[in-house]
Every structure is written in structure tokens, then in C-alpha cells.
Amino acid sequence: MTTTEVAPAPAGRGAEQPAPRRHASPWKRRAPLLPALIFTIAVTQIPFLVTVFYSFQSWNLVRPGSQYFVGFQNYIDVFADSTFRTAMLNTVVLTVVCVFVSMVLGLGLALLLDRKFTGRSVVRTLIITPFLILPAAGALLWKTAMFDPVHGLLNFVFGTDIDWLSAYPLGSVMTQVIWQWTPFMTLLILAGLQAQSKEVLEAAQVDGAGRWRTFASITLPQLSRYLQLAALLGAIYIVNSFDAIYLMTQGGPGTASTNLPFYIYQRAFEGFDVGQSSAMGVIVVILTLIVATFTLRLMFRTFDVSGGVK
């Protein structure tokens, strides 16, 4: 048995391999990509189809047997719901402000960390600490250590007596999110800064370009790809902010700091209204896809551009 199998193998290898390699079928080339792709699509899209199905059902878990087809009624209800609109607005404000502020801070920090100074690696690690902390712990940390009216550091420092989380709920949440995400931006932008070739920077210096000129003409264009990546990834995760709101304010007071993910969670796991929360889930997916398409187009264009320059 062994001999019959072993014998043809070397011959086959020698004779056949060059040919298929040259004309390797596209599917063979795609093969390494497929496990990941099939897996992610299965785990995300099957539940999503279920969500779509639920969104056309009237279904409340507390009332058994209440499940029946209602068409678009859930969607009509959702758009008529003023809490939904508040949550939507809060989500947009939270995302835009947090991405922008943390990117500006991140750029500043990255420029700071890119210089050589004693203890740089320690400072760098300390600065990225907020990103490494469990977001849930970070949220609790700000809630108990910073904003708390009794133990809070803010009141202690400012000598005030404010219950920050009820006075400025969204602002407080945003402060925590920015604190959490600035290091992420810093790391990405720092990676961009360090990827610059030192020769080019030295050449610019030899040619008499000042620090600002070098920054504006060489560093910034090179960095744009990293800035966009930072903004995109930051936005994806900040839109989905849930931990901070769940743990710090529970969306309150009232709905002052409710964002979409939290409102959907509330409707599903506290209100048991599967139909309406699924309808909101579908709406969020559609809005995300619209934004994501634009972002992706921008990304691909950037990569093509940088590829062309190289």
C-alpha cells in the first residue's frame, strides 16, 4: 500500500505543481481568507436576519403567546417615540464630540511622545493606561472616584458640591469616553509618526525646513492615513458606547444621557419588547451601513493614493 502511494507522489509533484501555480484559480487564492469571512458572516448575519424577522413581529416576552406579524407597525411606533429621537441625537453628539476631542488630544500626545526624553517609555505607558483599563472599571472609576458628590475628586478640587452625573450627565459620560479613547488615538497616531523615515526628516532639516514646516509638509500628509484610521475606528466603537452609560448614569436622569445602544438594550432586556427593540436595531444597522459606506470609500481612496505615491 505504501509503495503504491509514495511512488506517484514525487512524480505528480514535479510535473503538476508549476502549472496550477501559474494559473491558480481565484478561489484557491481566496481560500485563506474564507474561514474568517464565513465565520464572521455566519455569526453576524444569521442573528441579524433573525433581528429583521423579529422587527416585523409584535412580541413581548412578558406576555406569552403575544407573538404575531404586525408589518411595519414597530417602525412607525419607533419613529413616533420621542425617546428614540433623543437617544439618536445623544448618540450623534456623543460620537462626534468624543472622536474630535480625543483625536486632537491624541495628536498632541503623540507628538509629545515622539520626541526623545529621559523616561519616555515609562511616560508612554502611563499615558496609554486609560485605554488598557477595562472600560467597565474605567466607568466605575470615574463614577466613584471623580464625579461622586461625596468621594469625588472633582468636588474636592473645585470645592463645589455638585452631583456631576445628574447635573451634566452627557458631559460626564463624554469626559469619561474621551479619557478612555485618547490613548487609543495617541497610539495609532504615534505609530504613524514612528513609521516616518528618519532620512526624509533629516533631509528636510538639512534643506532648512523648520519644525512647523516639516510637520505641515511631510508629517501631516503622511499621517493622514493614520488619522483617518483613528477617526474611523474610534467612531465605530464610540457609537456603540454602552458600558459608560449603563454603569454611570443608566441613561438618566430621565433620558438625558440615553444613547441608542442603551435604549435598545433597555427595551429588550428590561422592557422585554423584542419587536420594537429589533426594529430599532435594524434602523441602527441601516444608518451604520450608510456612514460606513462613505467611510470605506474614503479609506480605499486614501490607500490607493498612498500606494500611488510609494
Binding site: T51, F117, L126, V150, L247, A268, S278
Partner: protein, 280 residues
């Protein structure tokens, strides 16, 4: 331009002050919570930065029951398994994206990025129902599966950025010099790819470790509840007893190892981003 001038002592001092301010900004909440975790219940609210009465009671409290240790084990196990699988699958995909050319590559990359942006919240309810049907609810695989899914696009994206920077001609050059394909890969390409794979693994691990939404909706008991979800139950007792000290101690326990971990590997992470390209 005068701005690009020489570094004077005054300028150095100015930068040093800026550095200190920045570190304080990043660290004050952490230091404050470390301080709170060592305070006794009576001195919690005294506003002193350095505890007047040092106590280890808060730490003893969290390790006294399974309430904290079990979730810690769950978190570590689930995150490590999910990271390993995501990085292996991600490496295959990233290799295809970085090295091979085939029609529809861009579309496939686009699809994987879209999945990364897919709002997790819209999947939680169906996953909850599906996992209950399949018996996966409140088990390790029940969390590992969604974690791999959402970590994969991150892994693919980061890895293919790294792989694209690798000078693959070196592989060909090594083969011309008489190396076998295996040698060419393990001696030339693998060392260049290792920092990228390592960095990706760290990012993916942190991503899984940090998840809160799935952890809180897809678990119900200590069988699979992870640390973030367990932490939220710490606050639940607040009506009867002030949990600030315990929460602080728990936050310190789960934060410090991660900081040490990254402090230990971070030279490799950040340097890995640059040295591979420069030396190659």
C-alpha cells in the same frame, strides 16, 4: 524659522512640565482609585490623597468569595481562547489580502470591515434567543463565538497593515541564496511578521477582555460571567452598603496586571511597529 531652533535648558524644562501635566491627566483617576481602595470605610470620604488609615480589608473582601475570582478565571480563559483563534484565522486572511491578487479582493476586505462596524447591540437579542435554543447561553463558547467574530476584522485589518510593510522580496532572495521555502519563511519572514502578530494579539485580547455588552446579556451565572459584568453587580448592593472601597479594590486588581503586562511588552509593541521596517 526660529521655532525649529536649538534645544535650550529653558525649553527642556517647559517640555518636562508639559509631560508631567499630561501624565497627571491620564493617571489621576487611577491613583485616586488606588488610594480609595486602601482607605477604611470611615475615611473614604475625607478627600485625602494619601489614606490616613491604611487597610487591606477591601482586597480581603473581594477575594473572600467566588464572586470575583470566578469571573476573573472566566475572563482570562474566554479572552485567551478567542484571541488565539482570531489571530490564527486573521493571519490567514491577512496573508491573502497582503500578498495575493484575486478579483473581488477589495469587496472582501470591505465586507470584513463592514462587519467590524456592525452594531453589536442589534445582534444581542437574537443571539440571546439563539444561544438559549442551542444551549450555548451562559457558557464559555457562548461568549467566545461573538468575541472571535468581532475581533476578526480588527485582527485582519491590523495584520494586513503589518504584512503589507514586510519586504516579501527577502523571501525570494533567501530562496535564491539556497534556503528552502520553510527556512525562508521561518528565518526571514516570521521574525519580520512576529511583532505585528504579537501587537495584534494584544489588541485582540484587550478587545475581548474589555467587552461588556455581550458579557452582561449572554451570561446569567458565575459559570461564564466575566469581570466587567461581575463589576456591575458590585454596584448593585449600593443601597445597603457603600461599595466604593470594594469596587476600587476590584478595579485595581484587574487594572494593575494589564498595566504591568503592557509595560513589559510595550517596547516590543511600539518598537515592533518601526524597527521591522527600518532594519529590513
Amino acid at each position: 524659522m526660529a521655532i525649529g531652533g536649538a534645544v535650550t535648558p529653558g525649553r527642556k524644562a517647559k517640555w518636562a512640565i508639559i509631560d508631567i501635566i499630561v501624565v497627571v491627566y491620564a493617571l489621576v483617576p487611577v491613583l485616586w482609585i488606588v488610594s480609595l481602595s486602601f482607605k477604611t470605610k470611615d475615611t473614604l470620604a475625607d478627600g485625602n490623597f494619601i489614606p490616613r488609615d491604611w487597610t487591606l480589608q477591601n482586597y480581603a473582601d473581594i477575594f473572600a468569595t467566588d464572586e470575583f475570582i470566578r469571573p476573573l478565571i472566566n475572563s482570562l480563559g474566554i479572552s485567551i481562547i478567542a484571541t488565539l483563534i482570531a489571530v490564527v484565522l486573521g493571519m490567514m486572511a491577512a496573508y491573502a489580502i497582503a500578498r495575493l491578487d484575486f478579483p473581488g479582493k477589495k469587496a472582501l476586505v470591505g465586507v470584513s470591515l463592514l462587519i467590524a462596524m456592525f452594531p453589536q447591540i442589534s445582534l444581542v437579542t437574537p443571539l440571546f434567543n439563539i444561544e438559549r435554543e442551542l444551549g450555548l447561553f451562559d457558557t464559555w463558547p457562548g461568549l467566545i463565538l461573538p468575541y472571535i467574530t468581532f475581533a476578526l476584522p480588527l485582527a485582519i485589518y491590523t495584520l494586513s497593515a503589518f504584512f503589507r510593510e514586510i519586504p516579501w522580496e527577502l523571501e525570494k532572495a533567501a530562496k535564491m541564496d539556497g534556503a528552502t521555502p520553510g527556512q525562508a519563511f521561518w528565518k526571514v519572514i516570521a521574525p519580520l511578521a512576529a511583532p505585528g502578530v504579537f501587537t495584534t494579539a494584544i489588541l485582540v485580547f484587550i478587545f475581548c477582555w474589555n467587552d461588556f455588552l455581550f458579557a452582561i446579556s449572554l451570561t446569567s451565572t458565575e459559570a461564564s460571567r466575566t469581570v466587567p459584568a461581575a463589576l456591575s453587580f458590585f454596584t448593585g448592593t449600593s443601597q445597603f452598603e457603600d461599595p466604593t472601597g470594594t469596587i476600587s479594590a476590584a478595579a485595581v486588581v484587574i487594572t494593575i496586571p494589564i498595566i504591568l503586562f503592557v509595560l513589559f511588552f510595550q517596547r516590543r509593541i511600539v518598537a515592533g511597529l518601526t524597527s521591522g521596517a527600518v532594519k529590513g
